[in-house]
């Protein structure tokens, strides 16, 4: 590591150490554990700035925050998996002794023996660690993939297919009382006849052209190709609107972090 980098790192450490002292002084008399509170706020600010420093380029502070985050979260989720799934769900249904040992409520049931199935599949998965019997772990994987495909087939058929089709059954002529009435009452009110009809036409044509775009069995040429082009245009306009909407959401997250830095850390009420 370069000498200048080391000096810079030392300066940053000193800066945040001073921040800790100042924050602890600020919390004194307000918080019971003012030294700890000062440390936690300073640490949060340090980690926030370390992650944000990635915008400049990769650097030791980002690496530190990244490794800390990955290490802690990996351990956390492993711990959660053990305590919530194995201790929280499995032991209470399989063994009263184990339930008592882990101080969780035993849940007897007539069909609890079914819980041995995931136990066996889990053990088979661990066979991966064996050089000779590693192939057995594929059975568990096959079970997971097969059941996933089967369950999702029905789920997606319902939500993404059947219900979407019936939602598209819209009349193309709304409140129709003849062409004369249509033109005489023409206006751009959101609940007016013209806008309602326009919305239904956009839904109908948009859905049809969108489906045509995702039709893989036919070359997109001629009229079919033109409908497909309309379909992709509709998709892109939708994506554009979605992009702007989501970016605004992200900006609010940024504002949240900046508010933390200015208000909670630096104590500036802006």
């Amino acid at each position: 590591m370069k000498r200048t980098t080391l000096i810079l790192m030392a300066l940053v450490v000193i800066f945040f150490a001073l921040s800790w002292i100042f924050k602890a002084m600020a919390f004194k008399g307000v918080e019971e554990h003012y030294i700890l509170q000062g440390f936690l706020v300073t640490l949060a600010a340090f980690l926030t700035l370390s992650i944000m420093s990635f915008l400049y380029k990769d650097n030791p502070f980002y690496k530190f925050a990244e490794h800390l985050f990955v290490g802690i979260s990996a351990a956390f989720w492993m711990s959660m998996g053990f305590w919530s799934t194995i201790v929280g769900n499995l032991f209470p249904r399989l063994s009263e002794g184990m339930s008592n040992f882990f101080k969780v409520h035993y849940i007897p049931g007539d069909y609890n023996f079914f819980f041995y199935v995931p136990v066996i599949l889990g053990i088979l998965l661990l066979m991966r660690l064996s050089r000779n019997y590693g192939w057995i772990s594929r059975w568990s994987l096959a079970f997971i993939v097969g059941t996933t495909a089967g369950l999702n087939f029905i789920r997606y058929l319902r939500s993404d297919f059947i219900n979407q089709v019936s939602s598209t059954f819209v009349p193309l002529l709304v409140d129709w009382q003849g062409i004369g009435h249509f033109f005489s009452s023409l206006n751009l009110s959101a609940s007016g006849q013209f806008i309602m009809m326009l919305a239904n036409w956009v839904i109908f044509l948009g859905v049809m052209c969108g489906i045509i775009y995702f039709f893989f069995s036919k070359e997109h040429t001629g009229l079919f190709g033109r409908a497909s082009r309309v379909g992709i245009w509709i998709l892109m306009i939708t994506f554009g609107a979605s992009f702007g909407y989501t970016v605004m959401g992200r900006i609010s997250l940024l504002v949240g972090r900046i508010t933390f830095l200015f208000r909670d850390w630096l104590g500036l009420n802006i």
């Binding site: 380029k57 990769d58 059954f169 069995s217 979605s242």
Partner: protein
């Protein structure tokens, strides 16, 4: 047991102690019936609201539902707003008898309905509400099987070009020429997401080409099962390429389940290893733009694909090629050319054809019904709508 309708003063702690008692008529005709096509754990209670339950100037403030289990003491199980005339009681047991009565409450009095007869929830083995779903699923499944068999007999099935997939070989070739790594990100969901399954299937094809070209592939994952499946897939590809010795378990490594911890690690890998090609295929969420932007900043060719509509705009903006929605699922069939996968793709197209025909018919009938108000047309439209509406 039948409880006659009566006005019972409410305890002082829950009702206003007004000086003039507001007498209200009780709800009438309470009927409890089994909730059809369930697992034997629900009942439906209906009643006619009190005649004093009016939208404007009504005296009824709420309805309380009381339930008696096996003839025991009736206990309050729910409070409903004025105007309510049914209640679905869930989480019941099929070996217990249940009876109900409904109490209407004014500001300082109450009036109870008769008690219903006792009934047990019934379990049905077949959910006939899903019969139309079953037939549609059957048609699509039959189409898939038909086309798979057709493909197996050697008939060539046409699949149109998908731009993003045309670039896969080119992108892998670029990484080979530059001597850099290929980074494959399979999203952050587990193997119970079809997008992850699609990504792993595409990985099979990508890793086969990688094995042929002797390029390096790196795959950090956020789920342990995905790691296992990915290792199996890459290993199989290296073996089919005749280079099992070149395979290494370290090609795929688990990072963390935590969404942004994973993103921080992958971003770090991108800027440090500077991969020539990045595949972002699978289920992505808020991390999509962070990953795609970082990949873009290191100059990698990026091929992305997801079925998450909210994330597609970010991939389209920051990646070179994007597989939109179903293109991700079509990709594996397109790349492999296997009869099973091509047949499946063709079968799905039959489903799309059914959807288009149904929409055309539905819109046509809706329009005629809106203009002409023909009873027959409305009946046909209602039937089609019922076919394409799934209720539990």
């Amino acid at each position: 047991m039948v409880v006659p309708a009566r006005a019972v003063p409410e305890p002082a702690d829950s009702l206003k102690a007004d000086s003039v008692e507001i007498i209200i008529a009780p709800p009438t005709s309470p009927v409890v019936s089994d909730f059809k096509y369930d697992d034997g754990n629900s009942l439906i209670l209906t009643w006619v609201p009190s005649i004093d339950d009016l939208p404007v100037g009504g005296k009824v403030l709420s309805y309380h539902i009381f339930r008696s289990d096996n003839g025991g003491e009736a206990k309050k199980i729910a409070e409903l707003i004025p105007g309510a005339n049914y209640y679905k009681d869930e989480d019941l047991y099929s070996d217990t008898n249940y009876a109900y009565h409904v109490v209407a409450l004014s500001s300082n009095s109450r009036a109870a309905s008769f008690q219903t007869a006792s009934i047990r929830p019934q379990r049905e083995w077949v959910n006939l509400n899903l019969k139309y779903l079953f037939f549609i699923a059957l048609i699509i499944a039959a189409s898939v099987i038909y086309f798979i068999e057709t493909a197996k007999r050697g008939k060539k099935l046409f699949v149109r070009k998908i731009a993003g997939l045309e670039a896969v070989d080119e992108a892998i070739g670029r990484a080979t020429e530059m001597g850099r790594t290929i980074l494959f990100i399979p999203g952050i969901h587990d193997m119970d997401d079809v997008q992850t399954l699609a990504a792993i299937t595409i990985l099979g094809r990508v890793s086969r080409v990688v094995a042929d070209y002797d390029t390096k592939i790196r795959m950090p994952v956020a789920r342990s099962l995905v790691m296992t499946a990915a290792r199996e897939t890459i290993k199989a590809s290296y073996m089919s390429a005749g280079r099992p010795d070149a395979y290494n378990d370290d090609m795929v490594n688990y990072v963390t389940d935590e969404q942004f911890g994973y993103v921080a690690a992958v971003d770090g890998i991108m800027v440090r290893e500077k991969p020539a090609t990045i595949f972002l295929l699978g289920a992505f969420f808020a991390e999509s733009l962070i990953l795609a932007e970082t990949g873009n900043s290191v100059g990698a060719i990026q091929i992305a694909g997801t079925a998450r509509p909210a994330q597609l705009p970010f991939f389209i903006a920051a990646c070179d090629f994007t597989l939109i929605g179903e293109e991700l699922f079509a990709a594996s069939a397109y790349l492999s050319g296997e009869p099973k996968q091509l047949g499946s793709l063709k079968g799905q197209d039959v489903g799309k054809g059914i959807a288009m025909l149904a929409i055309l018919l539905g819109v046509l009938l809706s329009t005629i019904a809106a203009v002409g108000d023909t009873e027959t047309i409305t009946d046909i439209l209602n039937f089609i709508t019922r076919v394409f509406t799934v209720t539990n």
